[in-house]
Symmetry: C2
Subunit: 370 residues, 2 copies
């Protein structure tokens, strides 16, 4: 167990935005809310999964919906108290800890806000090891754990409680309610045991995010940007796939999701090549000159070439210079069931999944990328 | 208190279909389900509102959604047991009785199905005195009573629980969830006290429906169809506005509602005149030769010219000969607040509400109708 205070939150938020793979919301908003909560209530205990008793009850508070809307309409915090009270009524007892359902600018921070307010520890594990757009896309649901009881709230204090077995049905109802709540809602879901989270979650994700954020914040300690990038790729086990300038962004918010396409013009070693990225809240497919270089569930994430700061999809701007990184997904996603759940075909792309490290090696061999 | 068995249910279902004002679902489906429940479990006690103790807890089980879909996808009954169990958890006790939220082929029958299965009496009162398409359109909500806790279920046993203060928000979330449930859902809502139901409900509606149904079933006892119609108008306090043949039906199911327009060509005394009916689940505006003759909240209801059987909107057929009746709404609807809630302007018609008896008298005077 260690304490998470203001400095740690800053780094976790930055790292989570990178691991959010384009989605997960703006890290500034989540960070400021979490820092305010910790300033008011004091630091939050972070439990290593190995420290969590088997019979602990853990739950995940998070935000649902289009991150672009979340920017203007973020939670006021009292929604979570309402929902946690409702969860207590359902369970007949309090939960022992909270955990993030995904890595992302907003959803990595919400457990710390709730933890600070309610005096609950946060477990260093999540249900995705990255961000994904839909509720059933968690390693916990994949392993057969229930998402429900799923409680949704809006900023008016409206509560909707969903109790269904199928993770896809949970997603379907939550999405419909979220649209009516104005395209974003707050939620509490995926209540399970310490044992289940340790077996079926992605472990150590918060510590990983913190390391990433710490490295980016201490960029000046590295002799060159290239050496800092190398260190970042080492921490994330990732690859630089492409370096480019953003030349076009098509963006639409529909049914509670952000959909979009980003076009890139290569620079430096990638000069003369064109990149294309498809996203649905999170980045799903990246290709260069028509050759697919990475797909979900592997992480496609953009970072600023100067600062190495992650660039989430609501921060995309014409002319921005970015490295496009490819990071391998957690092994739990690289199974047939995982790929069926979150692979490119689920997102309606007629592409077979292949691990990013293989695709990158092939593309390099063909001279498609640098 | 009196007992409701198979014969009574037949009559109630017929009368409720008439009072459903075109909506409320097909009376055959509801009737067959209720009869099966009463055959299995025995008759259901019907309580006169005056017999209901002030502190009785009463609730309303019903169906939500487009009646045209309800025809193919009607409840299997176990949804209501699931929902009543959930309601017990919320309230910490059982309810003492159930009541229909509206008069209509399906929703007048569901309380008898639930009453028979769970051994609960039904109160002879509803929340509309007719059918209406949206949840907030009840005299109970109009009087300030909460619709929530509102529990929704589908035939898969999926449960969604809505807990919001605003009746319009309850409707909004329920509609979104109902659409995802496949355009119909089952619900339990409007839990209140015996006292509140007696003060703010529409009293005696079931007995009224039974009288109407009894009269129609005993049509042969009247010397002529005209004298039976006169008796029916006497029981309902209604008027025959138009007699016609259906010449066109436009019909679309959208966002969990049935929308439509029906065109009529007058026959008998109305020969040579054209009628037009607009509906949104229920009939909303009826006009003849461009003159409005009746609008919601007054009831516009069609009956077969031969059998006097009510013709609900999913039974509309080209060539069918009908009387178009106009029945005054309950006085609770004829207030400024009632008219704002369910008058023609709420349904997007640029028409001021005027009581049907006045509109009919004016139209007769102008020679627009017979």
């Amino acid at each position: 167990m260690r304490q998470i205070g203001v400095e740690e939150l800053r780094d976790i938020a930055t790292g989570a935005a990178l691991m959010g793979a384009g989605g997960g919301g703006n890290p500034e908003v989540g960070k400021l809310m979490a820092i305010a909560a910790v300033r008011e209530h004091g630091p939050v205990s972070l439990l290593d999964p190995s420290e969590v008793p088997d019979d602990f009850l853990v739950t995940s508070p998070s935000g649902i919906g289009a991150p672009a809307v979340g920017l203007e309409k973020f939670p006021n915090g009292s929604e979570f108290e309402l929902m946690m009270n409702k969860l207590r009524e359902i369970l007949g007892r309090d939960v022992d800890a909270v955990f993030p359902i995904e890595a992302g600018g907003i959803n990595s921070m919400i457990p710390f806000i709730v933890g600070a307010k309610l005096g609950l520890p946060v477990v260093d594990a999540d249900g995705m090891g990255r961000a994904f757009p839909e509720l059933q896309m968690s390693t916990l649901a994949l392993a057969g754990h229930r998402i429900c009881p799923l409680i949704l709230a809006d900023e008016k204090g409206n509560l909707v409680q969903i109790d269904v077995d199928s993770p896809h049905d949970a997603e379907k109802f939550a999405r419909a309610v979220t649209v009516e709540m104005g395209a974003t809602s707050q939620s509490v879901s995926d209540t399970t045991t310490g044992d289940a989270l340790r077996n079926d979650g992605v472990l150590g994700i918060i510590t990983k995010c913190q390391k990433i954020g710490h490295l980016i914040r201490h960029l000046g300690d590295y002799p060159t940007p290239a050496s800092a990038l190398a260190a970042l790729l080492d921490v994330t086990n990732g690859q630089r796939m492409f370096t480019a300038k953003i030349t076009d962004i098509k963006h639409v918010t529909k049914s509670g999701f952000n959909f979009g396409t980003v076009l890139f013009s290569g620079i430096d070693g990638d000069s003369g090549r064109m990149g294309q990225l498809e996203f649905q809240n999170e980045n799903i497919v990246f290709s260069v000159s028509g050759t697919v270089v990475a797909t979900a569930p592997d992480l496609i994430t953009l970072i600023d070439t100067e600062t190495l700061d992650p660039v989430t999809n609501e921060e995309l701007r014409y002319g921005k210079r970015v490295h496009v990184l490819g990071l391998p997904a957690d092994d739990k996603w690289r199974t047939p069931a995982g790929i069926e759940c979150v692979g490119p075909r689920y997102f309606k792309y007629d592409i077979d999944y292949q691990p990013v490290e293989e695709l990158v090696a092939e593309a390099q061999k063909k001279g498609v990328i640098d």
